[in-house]
Symmetry: C2
Subunit: 371 residues, 2 copies
């Protein structure tokens, strides 16, 4: 059946479109350029990469990995370095706030390279008139998040702009981590036969933030999943090393902007493989499903802030899932799909009804200011 599907004319068309060089057609920035989807990829590949081309940036990972010290060899140190700005609206929401996001998001981007996060920077842009009590609440969240993740904020910057020149508060965090395990995790390392793991139910964060905007007067119990995932990754690396080698973990990504669909597309494109997932295996809370229907969203494209996608060798997959289940942030971990050869660069989902649909990069905007 997969064969019928992959030889369809639709499939060929999608594949051809994929291989085209991405070029930006717009003359002005739109919200879609920040969506995590196709427009954002066009902005990054068609504009940013044109100016900043270098081997580290071109990998389009969520972090750069490089060696410092004694030039490569036994005495060199492998570091990961990453940055993210947080502009979430509203700044406080059930289960978290911009402070938690700012620490956990950067901790997670480091952890997804197999790094142990060490140090964070924090850059604040604050609108004149912002209540200092709100600032203190955010700083308290950041303090709590750094303590849980075992990192320290060691350098910072604060800029104040006039009322109306920014919306309340934006926070940038950058982070440095050290890769001690010898792992070589990359979105480009998915191999045929690999299993795809998700660490828990998807769509909680994005749905929570959309509801918290209050435009729909929806009342639910949904909370953001924002969490630091470095200790979960540690356990996964440890389990892989125990039963095989840390190298059995091929890709790790946190499906933030653009959600699981976008992350899987990035992996399919970077690794030049076909990713097949199964709708019935993907954990989505009933409340999230319901809220997404009302909001007109597809949970596959909704941002998560405390979940990860892992692509691992088939022979270690089940053991890693079991180990994840024993961790606070991996209780609902499960295998949702696998990596196949053809058609390359494509993600497709076998639906509950037995059909297969292409899970493409997001077109247009979905959720501005979700993180």
């Amino acid at each position: 059946m997969a064969n019928d599907f992959t030889s369809s004319p639709l499939f060929e068309r999608v594949e051809r479109a994929r291989r085209r060089k991405r070029k930006l057609k717009e003359t002005h920035i739109t919200l879609a350029h920040g969506s995590g989807g196709r427009a954002m990829r066009e902005l990054i590949e068609g504009v940013f990469l044109e100016y900043f081309r270098n081997p580290l940036l071109e990998q389009l990972e969520d972090q750069a990995v490089f060696e410092v010290g004694q030039t490569s060899g036994a005495n060199s140190t492998r570091l990961a370095f990453t940055t993210d700005s947080y502009v979430v609206d509203p700044i406080f929401f059930p289960g978290g706030d911009i402070g938690y996001l700012a620490v956990n998001g950067t901790v997670n981007d480091l952890a997804m390279s197999g790094a142990r996060p060490l140090y964070l920077s924090a850059g604040f842009i604050i609108e004149e008139g912002f209540p200092i009590d709100d600032l203190k609440r955010i700083l308290e969240s950041m303090r709590a998040a750094t303590q849980e993740a075992g990192v320290e904020i060691v350098t910072g910057d604060t800029k104040i702009v006039q009322k109306g020149s920014a919306d309340k508060i934006f926070i940038n965090t950058s982070g440095i981590g050290i890769i001690e395990s010898g792992s070589r995790i990359s979105a480009a390392r998915a191999e045929i036969g690999d299993q795809i793991i998700v660490s828990g139910a998807i769509g909680d964060h994005g749905t929570t933030v959309m509801i918290a905007r209050g435009e729909l007067e929806l009342e639910t119990e949904i909370q953001s999943d924002t969490a630091p995932l470095n200790s979960l990754v540690n356990e996964m690396l440890d389990e892989a090393a125990r039963i095989a080698t840390v190298d059995a973990i091929h890709c790790l990504r946190d499906p933030t902007r653009g959600g699981v669909a976008t992350t899987l597309n990035e992996i399919a494109l970077s690794s030049d493989v076909y990713v097949q997932i199964y709708e019935e295996r993907i954990p989505v809370r009933e409340e999230v499903k319901g809220a997404c229907e009302i909001l007109g969203l597809d949970p596959l494209y909704v941002a998560n802030e405390g979940r990860l996608i892992a692509v691992v060798a088939a022979d270690v997959a089940q053991a890693i899932v079991e180990r994840m289940k024993s961790h606070k942030y991996g209780q609902d971990a499960c295998i949702i799909g696998e990596v196949k050869a053809e058609p390359k660069g494509i993600v497709a989902m076998q639906t509950g009804f037995g059909g297969t649909r292409i899970v493409d990069l997001l077109m247009g905007e979905q959720l501005p200011r979700i993180c």
Copy 2:
């Protein structure tokens, strides 16, 4: 004469005020909290440090310095890490733009620790509707600046916010550098007898940006001094090592927000020394002097983006100045003052008329969004 001055009741009052624990009295953020002056220090010491207290952050340097790899000893690597957000208004101005500032500012914060800047991150917050041609112009500036400084942008992030939620474009850059020289530069290392060097004429950047806002319809030839100072610092370290030891360079700071006055106050406070400067020795362009008079600004408090203040051992000072003069960005380098013992934590300037006035931390706001 200095003795008469320092035993005056005014002096004692200032000193007493200095020693008081800084506490924030305001309930809402004001522009003064971003000025680089007293209000900003109160925000940082009274709020941020309360939540993020740790030995690296408490040093209040412009960058954190730490070791990674083999725990301290011959095989460990000393790194510097820094962050800055750029919110300058207007984004384009004579002599530079927000892109140049964003790269040069972070390169300079690294260089001021004696580090060789290696890698930068770039986080963009862009307002919906921003012209992509303007973005390209900024990216071209960043590319040119990274090439001149010999650094690479290796990781990035882009967030788009709705029209009206940010003013055009804000850029955060964080940077990592490696300290290879064994220098131990710190604002806390000024010693009695040290000479104070400035690398060139002061006030150009801040004055240029104020004029570029067009509120005064002033026409001048003044340009921003934005420049990467890492190669100048290299030459200074090299000269110090040649005639004595790199350790002869005690403090290095780039006098950005709050200008030379603020930087000298930070050094006086951190090192617990008295800093005396001489008005007639401080290089200020005639045009900058004139524009500052019209704008009601004191050049001592105006931001620079391509200048440095160095506090160095007296026996190497003149040689370092000579070496600086042979460098493109140090042609007007000169000694503007010296470090004395008492009254501790104070900066004062001997004026052209022979009097002495205290150069205090800036009260209130001076120049919002100058960098």
